[in-house]
Subunit: 153 residues, 2 copies
DNA sequence: GATGACTTGATATTCAATTACAATCAGGGC
DNA sequence: GCCCTGATTGTAATTGAATATCAAGTCATC
């Protein structure tokens, strides 16, 4: 769960270092481009669209093309460093990249902050629902919209 | 829950008549265009994209423009006759248009058939999860991907 | 038949994502 | 070192998804 008050530069650094280490372990390549994209995703600390990433990535150098961004995002999602929010066509950094998992989110409709829910109970209920409907479970997305505690005050 | 073997033309008719009646009761306008779009959605009986609807709608007459389709779909969603599947950018007919509700779905990754889940238990679990995370619940989407009973055999 | 609200048509544009192909880079074997 | 191979990135073009804007038509009501 994301906190609202924290040293954000530290939080970015932590995510980048974690990604670095995981890639070393898995022997996948955490290239400068991929690192940079992950950094941009974390820097916003809210859902960011692919084209926002594209704009930020293009600052200072020749404008990059969409595939550059989408490929990097695909890699980061594949590795579990980033989740895609279907209802927003946007991306967020994953708070628990070590363990691959589904994205179950709360999204504040006022401030756009996203809270990732890593609740086993929720997951088991969803798997059970799938079974009861005769499905072999593969994966799921859950996106709950609401007002966060911060915005209600 | 959708059955696989049924008289599909009857099933379309039923949906159209239900929509007609609900609109009369609510005093909203079930125009020929809206009726036709709802018919096309039901006719496919699987998730259908806006541009597929557009193509079908354009058959025989001058090609319609995207806003025509999106406006009709917006109306149908607003009235609860159609749901949007976020993970597919596609639309399906609602199996229970009388009662407005969230879309909670199972999607078969083989045959693309969709099963709508109207389970109160699932809904209450989701609302509870929102509360526990400090959110005031507004709405939610749940889309579970898996293999349906039919395809597993 | 004039008014105003709603609906549809038409044009253009923005945003989201992918295809296809070329160029570059990194590491392994010789 | 040099070549080979596969992965990564660059580039151009295109498709798909959705919206903004304004014009034209429909329809009940006064």
């Amino acid at each position: 769960m994301l906190k609202h008050k924290h040293d954000h530069s530290v939080c970015i650094e932590t995510a980048l270092e974690a990604a670095q280490k995981i890639c070393e372990k898995r022997e996948t390549r955490f290239t400068p481009l991929r690192r940079r994209v992950l950094e941009l995703v974390w820097r916003k600390h809210q859902p960011i669209t692919a084209y926002e990433v594209l704009d930020l990535l293009s600052e200072g150098r020749k404008r990059v093309a969409p595939p550059t961004v989408y490929r990097a995002l695909d890699f980061l999602i594949e590795e579990g460093f980033v989740h895609r929010i279907e209802s927003l066509n946007a991306f967020v950094g994953c708070s628990d990249p070590e363990h691959k998992h589904q994205g179950h989110f709360m999204i504040c409709t006022k401030c756009s902050n996203v809270t990732e829910m890593n609740e086993a109970s929720l997951h088991s209920v969803i798997e059970r629902a799938a079974k009861e409907n005769g499905y072999t479970y593969e994966n799921s997305i859950l996106e709950i919209a609401g007002i966060c505690a911060n915005c209600r005050n």
